[in-house]
Amino acid sequence: MPAVAVERHEHAVDEHRPTPRRHRLRPVEAFAFVAVCLLLLRPWLAPLFASRAAATWLTIFVSIAVQALPFVALGALLSATITVLVPPSFFAKALPRRPALAVPVAGACGALLPGCECASVPVASALVRKGITPAAAFAFLLSAPAINPVVLVATSVAFPGHPAMVAARFAASLVASVGVGWLWLRFGRADIRTPRRAHLDELPRWEAFVASMRHDLTQAGGFLAIGAFGAATLNVVVPESVLHAAASVPLLSILALGLLAVVLSICSEADAFVAASLTGFSLTARLAFLVVGPMVDLKLFAMQAGTFGRRFATRFAPLTFAVAVCAATATGGLIWGLR
């Protein structure tokens, strides 16, 4: 997109002296130009989505975005509230001072945010900016979409014959998120990118609130679109029959459903119903699907990379995946065995 780079050398010029200004394309103007082109070219673009595979891809792409935007909006509202209205001292009092204790407390607090993973990324980012130990904020980020009441009720409805699934999901998700938090505390590097947003402090409160909302909505929404793009692509390209070849091998089936959860990027409020329909797989493998999904998936990875930096996400996501699969395997193995 040409628009963003255009104004750069403007600042090199001494601004006190009137300089002959060339016209520069502002982002809004570039956007209007792109919109006009799309409208004019629509009859020639439509055939691109005429094939059944492309039409299915477009529907899934749009659906993931539409489905997740209400949760992004909820996350942005909470994040703006934390950023602008809640004083930092509140969190200093609410959480234990020792980071090693703050991690499990923050992880357990995840049960209080009734949403899915799209809501928790902006909230976790706001918590880090407010000075919470990053490891504790990450424990919250991972546990919130998995152990809140809405998700647990959905899980119990999806598995009417297996009441232990709800307890197993709660336990394995909490263990995994606290585990990742502690590992990050011990081995994690501090190179997390969290824009400080000092400029918000100079604004009147409600303007700061709107600015924070605007930032979170567009950034989380933009990265959500990237994730939806990847998830829709894999959803259409990877045939489901590949998966069922793995169903009969105990440990491989756990790994296969863990990877499926990453690829499908299903909202944590719906994933239990998908897991319930994977009847060819063991309960332990389906538990892995439920534990991994809310913690690592393509759209979440894109959103984390956008919020905390790509270097962070490329380390954090594999670590989380490994810990989540181990926690699910151990929990499921204890309850049902590996088959």
């Binding site: 982002p27 792409f61 605007r214 029959s241």
Partner: protein, 248 residues
């Protein structure tokens, strides 16, 4: 805080929020998400559009564009970086320009058939025939569950009416309906084999109303080996796509 970057974000948020409101109000949203998501879409649409419109009002009131030093510093370090907000316009543009259709036979043939889990309690009896007598309307997923798990006991010899779309089967046709829990990405296919003749000119994704009765025959799904029940069709009529293309 209404630099050029914020202005663009305001336009895109207005676009995305307005699109959410439009699909929620005109009913197209049922192609993409579950029907009960409407209030959430309306709320999110209002929030996005409100933030966008407030941004635009702020931008108008600050004309000519002021550059105070703090703000310039803030914006300066971001110049040259692509603003990911552009991508939020992509789903909105796809919805407004191409109005994607509901998931259909393509996905139904690529995904295995997926019935909800067998219930613990027995199936309740079907609604009694009304004054006009049978057929009694039943959802495709309800028929398939009763046929597979209950072996048709609760269906008996009743005449039933189901609405779904056609999917080309290895032999013959399936009456198909997608079940959506949250959004179309989690759509699962319910397939019922049709024992009977489909209307001439029928094709994949043709919506039909089928009248028929339970038949014990089953077959295995080619994709995941799940059981696909059959129905003995006595009448199949082409209909238009229902307001909610998915069952839940």
């Amino acid at each position: 805080m209404t630099g050029p970057r914020a202005e663009l974000q305001g336009v895109i948020l207005t676009l995305a929020g307005g699109t959410l409101l439009r699909i929620a109000l005109d009913g197209d949203y049922t192609r993409y998400v579950k029907a009960s998501a409407k209030p959430y879409l309306l709320a999110a649409g209002v929030v996005l559009a409100a933030v966008g419109l407030i941004t635009l009002v702020q931008a108008l009131r600050r004309r000519p564009y002021e550059r105070d030093p703090a703000q310039r510093d803030h914006e300066e370090h971001r110049h040259g970086r692509f603003d990911v907000a552009w991508l939020l316009a992509a789903p909105a543009a796809a919805l407004l320009l191409f109005a994607p259709q509901a998931i259909g036979s393509y996905q139904a043939m690529h995904a295995g058939s997926a019935l909800p889990p067998a219930p613990i309690s027995p199936y309740p009896p079907l609604a009694p025939p009304d004054a006009a007598g049978d057929p009694t309307s039943i959802s495709v997923v309800d028929y398939a569950s009763r046929a597979v798990f209950d072996h048709g006991k609760s269906l008996g010899a009743r005449m039933l009416a189901m609405t779904g779309f056609l999917t080309k089967a290895p032999s013959g046709w399936y009456l198909t309906r997608m079940v959506v829990t949250c959004c179309a990405a989690d759509a699962a296919a319910i397939k019922v084999g049709i024992d009977g003749a489909v209307p001439a000119g029928a094709a994949d994704d043709t919506w039909v109303r089928l009248v028929g009765a339970y038949e014990p025959r089953t077959e295995a799904d080619k994709v995941n080996g799940a059981v696909i029940p059959y129905v003995a069709a006595s009448d199949i009529a082409v209909v238009s796509e229902p307001a909610n293309p998915y069952e839940s």
